[in-house]
Structure formats: structure tokens, C-alpha cells
């Protein structure tokens, strides 16, 4: 066991981990931040995406020890300071970009990373960026629409309410 310490959503978090402890396990089991989900074991579904030092990573494919000293952001820290939904979260609700909600934390975190890199992505760029985030409910239509809306683009021409 080794001690790790990192900043999670702006607060210092530390705990004892084994070498094999995944960052996703550390977040879920040690810190009780269960918003980060695990949907596969081959690093593909993206339900576990968090930000480490400002970039999106799959927390199920990174050891907690590798994140020692890092700045980690999870879905639990995304809302505005007053608790209201941030622009991306609000766009997901407004455009019905989620159904069962299981992939949603990873989608929101990937969307945030995308808009940081590319503030006005095209539909194709959004779809390409979401390659590592699988959703089984929405068919992606409303997720793509929500992300484009969150970037300030007019999505009224995109079909359906």
C-alpha cells in the first residue's frame, strides 16, 4: 500500500492505494465519488472519463498511483458554484442528450474537453471526438446537438424537438 494525494474538484484528496488500484476505483470506492462510472474493461466505453491535469483520460485505464499529485476533475465538480447546471450540463438537459444517464458523466467530461480544444466544433468534429464514448440509449443525435448548442451554435436547424 502506498499513500497518494491529489486534488479532486479543487479539494485535496488522499488515501492508501495498492499498486493495482485504478483511478476509477479510487474515485468511486475511496472518495465515494460514484458519478464516475465503469462500463467496460477494454478502455472503450468512456463512461469513466475524467480530466487529469486538464485533459480527458479514461480513469479505468490509469492507476491511482499515476495520478499522485495530479489535478483531477470529475462530474461531481462540474456544476456552477451555486449548484446550477453548467452550460454543457444544461444543454444536455435542454436537448434530451441523456436517457439512462450511465454514460452521461463521461459524455459531459469529454464534451468539456472538446470545447476547450475546439470552441465551435462542427457536427463531424463532435462525432469524431466522441469516438471513445459509447451511448446505447440516445443514438447520439441529441448528444451531438447538445454539445453544439453548448458551444453557442444555433442548433434549431437540426431535426426534431
Amino acid at each position: 500500500m502506498a499513500q497518494v494525494s491529489m486534488t479532486v474538484n479543487g479539494k485535496t484528496a488522499s488515501g492508501e492505494v495498492e499498486g493495482r488500484t485504478l483511478l476509477s476505483s479510487f474515485l468511486r470506492d475511496t472518495l465515494k465519488l460514484t458519478g464516475t462510472h465503469v462500463g467496460c474493461d477494454t478502455s472503450q466505453c468512456g463512461a469513466c472519463v475524467v480530466h487529469v491535469d486538464g485533459v480527458a483520460v479514461k480513469s479505468c485505464t490509469m492507476l491511482a498511483a499515476e495520478a499522485d499529485g495530479a489535478d483531477v476533475a470529475t462530474i461531481e465538480g462540474q456544476a456552477n458554484a451555486d449548484g446550477s447546471l453548467n452550460v454543457i450540463q444544461q444543454a444536455f438537459q435542454d436537448h434530451h442528450g441523456l436517457q439512462c444517464g450511465f454514460c452521461t458523466p463521461g459524455m459531459v467530461m469529454s464534451a468539456a474537453a472538446l470545447l476547450k480544444e475546439n470552441p465551435k466544433p462542427s457536427e463531424g468534429e463532435v462525432r469524431a471526438y466522441l469516438e471513445g464514448n459509447i451511448c446505447r440509449c440516445t443514438g447520439y443525435h441529441n448528444i451531438v446537438k447538445a454539445i453544439m448548442a453548448a458551444s453557442g451554435q444555433d442548433v434549431s436547424a437540426i431535426a426534431a424537438e
Binding site: 434530451h96 444517464g101 463532435v126 469524431a128
Partner: protein, 786 residues
């Protein structure tokens, strides 16, 4: 002007806030004090005799609490099957015992052999590696036709063969159907495969068992679409626990798509082991385990024949299907290829004579059961493919051939035992034609060809039977359950309502849409209504969510209970207003006396019900809580017309979906935003089936697609934006909301449109291709072109 609340409004989903902020409560988020973890040691061979299961070394490993094997479950029941099909000779189906843990034999890769309960999951896994298992391998039974041939090795030694049943429907029509084929001017024949799929909700299954010695009460937290059904099946048939000593909770569930309907061994195990070990026991499936243990879907091999007269009228339809059951009968497996499939073979057409034969076959594969659409996608796919092929053979327009044969008068009794109450198939086809710019297709094809691509257009119709189902009818058909739904509406003193519904929401947004219905009925704000579901200790009874039944059946129960509430509230109001009950009107949350300005607010009436100082105690009881059970009198029949345009890269065989349009008739609609989302998701799964998804085994029964490395899930860049319309509405005539259900339509209606489009594209390049089996992956399309 769109409504801002109530029925017909695109109310934003209240459940989204918790999901978007990471504070949902999924089963894997639940951790009990003192909890132990279980790891299942699963078979890595498809078929064999268990000669040794030696746990002695493993039992001494660090952290091990207890190890269980099949022998520990001999005294309890097997996993029950909820539907008994009677075959064409009047014999009941063959029904093998399905043990909680394999005993004697293993029958599919992934079947649990032993379960190790330990302090941590890794310790359980370490110990499982120390269990000595010897399996004398037997030949794997894989191919369905070979499985039912004389002398084939048997999956179950105690059954007479691998044939579960040989079903004929309608058997009495068989001779007339055959005669019609002899007299036909044209017969179109098609042999096809409906590919085996894995539902893959993004949340893997989880079960947490708990037991209280003090009260002898069991609790199971599980990722189920129908916790009450699990309570009944597991309590009554597997573990012998009465329902009043068993609580089943399904909190936030991350998608189901059918595969979370069924009662699974891991649920029974965790419940059993929690008592045996006297501590909570948790299992969380890995994705790889999910591929080997979640019930699979589809897997039919079919020959379909369509007879037409000289005027291109459909005169008869005949099908011959082999349906894979897998190694054991999953909960509702026998109903899928029969009553959910044969009864839909008329489709949208007035074909007068139909005969369906289905042979259900045991193989050494994971059990197969309902997956989004369940039986109806298989029926639609065959029918809409053979109609398309017939149009090509006859040189007629595929849309015109469909229109010519449409059912136009309702109610319509099909020759396959169901009666469609309403529909307007020309209207949805008209709408579709408007949406897809048919006249512009030639120019779009030219533009594709200029880029070296082939372009194809595919169209199809669908009909489905939803709102499952009238209990007396399904009872006659072999269901071992009723398929009503219940709701309890509890009004609190201060006017807020709690609706306890037996429907379960795992993405469908019931917490929002159900509240819209009640808000509309009473005329109060949606925020005053809370929808509670998924806990047998809170909701009196429930049959759960599947078969697009929630709003049609569960919603109807809620409407009935709310009507009872309103009737009682009117009695109270009439007392308060000193008026005749028949003069009391409820509007916008206030009771008034017709023709006067006397009124009393909703909250005053509810307060009076609980503070009955001025109350007609001699006539009615205090309190305001009502329960209703609703048993539908018929199925509902959503229908629609779908179109897909594809581009095919002739050099690689890669198919790209250029556009997809859906015109559906769901009857009345509660929340258009949610309905649209349901259709989007269904279409994505249908396109997934058509182009990407393939659950494949090798000849030895090894699962080749056991992870997302080999099972192709549709991703964002595989799909286009969808054009979805549901303005054609012929309301259901027999439920109070006039609703039909929308959850499965997309998955039912979309695969034939895609395949029809690809065949159209290839034929535009002169390729004599009549059919390609799904998924139309690049290698298959390329091979078809060679």
C-alpha cells in the same frame, strides 16, 4: 404554441439533474456495511461433463468467506421460465432444469461453475484461480439445423432431443396456405439470418444481497427492469422466500433493452449467499462477463415465401424459422419466436393466409431472450425484405407494391390471431415520402456516383404489438404471469402527490412523463407530483417495463387511480362547497360548482381529507390514497414507415448511412421530446444490428465477440442525424390515454430499411445481389460484390 406542461408538452426531464451532476444512485453505487464480494468461476468450454470441482485449496486462500458450487443449490429450484409454449401437436415444450450454479454438466461458455465469496473482489478472484475444475469436453451443439438432426449430441441428456418445441401457427391454416402457393401467379422466396445480438446496456448488471437475521428479511438490490417480477420468480420458484420477507429494489438502472427483464442466477446467488454467509454479498458484472451471461437477442434462421396473384396482391405467406434458445430457457425466451413473432407476420398487409412454423432449438450458447422489439423485429425484417425482393422480381415500385397491399380498414382481424384497433399506413407513408425528397434521389445518386460511391434507398413499413398484454389472452397462450400494471396515488395533506407505479424507468423518463399526465388530469404543476418506482417495499405490485408497455399499461393504471382520487376529492369538495357532487368540476387545480363562482382549491380539499374536521365522515373515509390495477383489453399497434439512404464504397464494401427518416404513428403522445429520443435510440440499435453488431461463436462454442474489441457498438461517427416525425396519430381505442408506446419502434423498423438500401445501391451498379445477411459489415458487402 407548444404547451409548457401536462400532456403533449416537451417537459425537460427532472431525472436529468441527478444524472448530470454525478449523484444518481445506480446499484453499483450501493455498498453495504460488512459487504463481501463474489466472483463467479465460469466455464471456458461450451459443453462438457464436470468431473472435478475441488475447492479445498481455494477455501484456505486469504480473505475467503465461503465457496459455493452446484451441489449447494441442489435443494433449491432452478431458474424458472415464465412462458410455456404448446407445439403444433398439442405437446408442451421441453423445459430443462437451469441450475443456479452448474451441476453435472456445463452447457455454455460463461456458465457459472463455482462462486467465491471473499472480503475483496481480487481475493475472490485469486481464490477462484485455485479451484481445480476438470471438464470432460463433449461436442458443442452449435448449428441449429444440425442440432435437431437425428443422432445429434444433446445439450440436455434428460430431454428427448435439442428441439424445445415445433410450433405451427395457425396450424389449421396450413393446408389453405399451401394451396394458395400452388395457385400463385408469383412466389418470392428468401432465406435469411436474423443475427444474434447482445443488448449491451451501458451499465453492466449488478446484484447486492442482504439478509437480516433479526427479522428474517431478505433484500436484493438489482439492475432490473421489473423488481416485482424478480421478487416473484426468485422468491417463489428458486429460493422459497415468501414475498413479504423479500424486498427487491432496482434504483437508477443504466439501460435495459430487454436483457434486464430476466431473472438471473447471480441475483438468486447473492440473495442466497447473504443468508448463508450472514453478510451482504455484492456482484458487479464486468463487460466481458456481461457478454457471456446477459441473455442474448434475436438469432433466427428463416425461410420466407410470399405468394402473389397476377395483380400483385399478396395471397399467402409461409415461413419456416429456426430460433435459438441457447443452452437453457431464459425467463421469457419461448414467447419471443412464437407469440411475439408469429402474430406479427401480417405486418401492414391484408395477406389473407399465413402460416408460421418455428422450431426452437437448444444449443451450447448463452440463453437467448427478448431484446428491444423481441420477435417483432424478426417478423418485420423477414416480411419487409421479402416484399422488397418481390417488388424487384416483378419490376414494380416497392412503395407502390406496399401501398397496394396495405390494410386500410380498422379494426382489422389478421389471419394470425390479433386485431389491429387503429392505424393509417398510407398516412405514415405519405409523411415519409414528404420527408425524404424522393424526386431528388436520382440526383443524389448521380452525385454519389461522381465520387465513386454507390447510393441506395431503402424503404419499409412496420407494425408492432405493444402495450403487453391482456392477461386472459396471454394466459391462454402459455404465459405463467398476468401482464396488468398497478399504480397507487397517494395525495398528501398539503396537496402534493406521490405516484407509486409498477412500471420501471431506466432511461425512459417516466419520472417526468408520468407526472405530466397526473398534472394534466388535476390541473396542478408537475413539480407537485413525485413518481416512485423500482422498490417492492414502496410500490404494491408491478409487472415492469418491456414491450413498450409503460405508458399504455402502467400509465393507464395511473390514470385509473388518479380518476379514483379525483372522484373522492369531488365528494369532499361537494361537502365543503355544500353542493351536489354531480355539479362539481375540477379545472386548473380547483373544484368549483358549475354555473357559480363558488370554488375550493385542490390543497384545501386534500387538507380536509387528512384534517377531517369539516368532512362527510359518515359517507367516506378520511385520507386520499387510491390504487388501481389496469389490465389491457388488447395490444396496441404502433406502426410506421422508415427510409434509409446509404452510400457504399465499392472498393471496400463500407456502408455509410447518409440519411434516415422515420414516420411513426404512436397514437397520442405525452412528451414529444422523450418520444423522439426513444425513436432515435431504437434506430441506432437497428442500424447497429444492420451494419455492425454480430455476436459470433466458433464451431467449438467459443464466443468470438466477448468484448467491445470484437462486438461493434454503434459510435457517434457511425450514425447520422435522424429525421423523426410522429405527427400521424391514430389514437389507441381501448386505453384511456389513447397511447400506443414508442420504445421499440425504432429497433423494429430500421434494419430492413438499411438492408433494402444497400441491396438497392449494389444493384444500381449491376450487381445481381438479392440479399446480404446482417450485419452488412464491409467484408460481407465487398464479398457480395465479387
Amino acid at each position: 404554441m407548444p404547451k409548457d406542461g401536462g400532456i403533449g408538452a416537451s417537459s425537460k426531464r427532472r431525472e436529468d439533474v441527478r444524472f448530470l451532476t454525478g449523484v444518481g444512485n445506480y446499484t453499483d453505487d450501493i455498498n453495504m456495511h460488512g459487504q463481501a464480494h463474489v466472483f463467479f468461476l465460469r466455464s471456458d468450454v461450451a459443453h462438457g461433463t464436470l468431473t472435478t470441482v475441488d475447492t479445498s485449496a481455494a477455501a484456505d486462500m486469504p480473505g475467503v468467506v465461503q465457496i459455493f458450487t452446484g451441489a449447494d443449490f441442489e435443494a433449491v429450484g432452478g431458474m424458472p421460465c415464465g412462458w410455456q409454449v404448446t407445439d403444433k401437436h398439442g405437446e408442451v415444450m421441453q423445459e430443462p432444469r437451469h441450475p443456479v450454479l452448474a451441476h453435472g454438466k456445463v452447457r455454455h461458455v460463461g456458465e457459472p461453475i463455482a462462486a467465491v465469496v471473499a472480503e475483496t473482489l481480487e481475493q475472490a478472484r485469486d481464490a477462484a484461480e485455485a479451484i481445480v475444475v476438470d471438464i470432460a469436453e463433449l461436442p458443442a451443439v452449435m448449428d441449429m439445423k444440425a442440432a435437431v438432426a437425428e443422432g445429434a449430441p444433446k445439450v440436455h441428456d434428460d430431454l428427448t432431443s435439442n428441439l424445445c418445441y415445433d410450433w405451427g401457427f395457425v396450424e389449421e391454416n396450413k393446408d389453405a396456405v399451401n394451396k394458395a402457393f400452388e395457385e400463385a401467379a408469383h412466389v418470392t422466396t428468401l432465406e435469411l439470418v436474423n443475427n444474434r445480438l447482445v443488448a449491451n446496456p451501458m451499465e453492466p448488471r449488478v446484484a447486492v444481497g442482504d439478509y437480516s437475521r433479526g427479522t428474517d428479511e431478505h433484500t436484493l438490490f438489482t439492475t432490473s427492469q421489473n423488481p416485482h417480477v424478480i421478487r416473484l420468480l426468485m422468491g417463489a420458484f428458486v429460493l422459497g422466500i415468501p414475498e413479504h420477507k423479500l424486498r427487491v429494489v432496482s434504483p437508477d438502472v443504466g439501460g435495459g433493452f430487454g436483457t434486464k427483464i430476466f431473472h438471473y442466477q447471480e441475483e438468486a446467488f447473492c440473495t442466497f449467499a447473504a443468508k448463508a454467509c450472514n453478510r451482504p454479498v455484492k456482484w458487479t458484472s464486468s463487460r466481458t462477463e456481461a457478454f457471456m451471461s446477459d441473455a442474448h437477442g434475436r438469432d433466427h434462421v428463416t425461410k420466407i415465401e410470399l405468394a402473389l396473384d397476377a395483380d400483385n396482391n399478396f395471397t399467402a405467406l409461409r415461413t419456416d424459422t429456426y430460433a435459438n434458445m441457447g443452452a437453457y430457457l431464459s425467463t421469457f425466451a419461448p414467447s419471443v419466436p412464437t407469440w411475439l413473432h408469429g402474430t406479427l407476420m401480417a405486418g401492414n398487409y391484408k395477406t389473407p393466409l399465413i402460416y408460421v412454423n418455428v422450431k426452437a432449438v437448444f444449443t451450447n450458447t448463452v440463453p437467448v431472450d427478448a431484446y428491444r422489439g423481441a420477435g417483432r423485429p424478426e417478423a418485420t425484417f423477414q416480411l419487409e425484405r421479402v416484399v422488397d425482393k418481390a417488388a424487384r422480381e416483378l419490376g414494380v415500385d416497392p412503395i407502390a407494391l406496399r401501398r397496394q397491399n396495405f390494410i386500410t380498414e380498422f379494426p382489422y382481424a389478421t389471419p394470425v390471431a390479433v386485431e389491429y384497433d387503429t392505424g393509417d399506413y398510407h398516412a405514415t407513408m405519405d409523411k415519409l415520402e414528404e420527408m425524404i425528397d424522393l424526386p431528388g434521389f436520382a440526383a443524389r445518386r448521380k452525385a454519389s456516383e461522381a465520387k465513386g460511391k454507390l447510393r441506395g434507398l431503402g424503404v419499409n413499413c412496420y407494425i408492432e404489438a405493444c402495450g403487453i398484454a391482456p392477461s386472459n389472452l396471454v394466459g391462454q397462450l402459455g404465459a405463467r404471469a398476468g401482464l396488468y400494471e398497478s399504480a397507487t396515488v397517494r395525495v398528501n395533506a398539503t396537496g402534493g402527490l406521490v405516484v407509486m407505479t409498477g412500471s420501471h424507468s431506466h432511461g425512459q423518463g417516466h419520472e417526468t412523463s408520468f407526472a405530466q399526465v397526473v398534472a394534466e388530469m388535476i390541473g396542478i404543476d408537475e413539480s407537485m407530483i413525485e413518481i416512485v418506482h423500482g422498490d417492492t417495499s414502496k410500490v404494491p405490485m408491478g409487472m415492469g417495463t418491456y414491450g413498450s408497455r409503460s405508458i399504455a399499461v402502467g400509465g393507464s393504471a395511473m390514470v385509473r387511480a388518479t380518476e379514483k382520487i379525483i372522484n373522492k376529492a369531488k365528494k369532499i369538495a361537494s361537502h365543503l362547497l355544500e353542493a351536489s357532487e354531480s355539479d362539481i368540476e375540477l379545472k386548473d387545480g380547483a373544484f368549483s360548482v358549475a354555473g357559480t363562482d363558488k370554488s375550493v382549491a385542490w390543497g384545501d380539499v386534500t387538507l380536509a381529507a387528512y384534517v377531517p374536521h369539516n368532512y362527510p365522515l359518515e359517507d367516506i373515509e378520511p385520507g386520499l390514497e387510491e390504487t388501481a390495477f389496469y389490465d389491457p383489453s388488447n395490444f396496441t399497434y404502433p406502426s410506421g414507415a422508415y427510409a434509409c439512404e446509404v452510400e457504399v464504397d465499392p472498393e471496400t464494401g463500407k456502408v455509410t448511412i447518409e440519411s434516415f427518416a422515420a414516420a411513426d404513428d404512436f397514437g397520442n403522445i405525452i412528451n414529444p421530446m422523450i418520444v423522439t429520443g426513444q425513436v432515435h435510440g431504437g434506430i441506432a440499435q437497428g442500424i447497429g444490428q444492420a451494419l455492425l453488431e454480430n455476436c459470433a461463436y466458433d464451431e467449438n462454442g467459443q464466443l468470438l465477440s466477448a468484448s467491445y474489441m470484437d462486438y461493434a457498438m454503434p459510435r457517434a461517427d457511425d450514425l447520422p442525424m435522424f429525421d423523426v416525425d410522429h405527427s400521424c396519430q391514430t389514437p389507441c381505442t381501448h386505453n384511456p390515454l389513447g397511447v400506443k408506446g414508442c420504445g421499440e419502434a425504432g429497433a423494429i423498423g430500421s434494419p430492413p430499411a438499411v438492408v433494402n438500401a444497400v441491396v438497392d445501391a449494389l444493384r444500381s451498379a449491376g450487381k445481381e445481389v438479392t440479399h446480404i445477411d446482417m450485419p452488412l459489415s464491409p467484408d460481407r458487402v465487398w464479398a457480395a460484390m465479387q
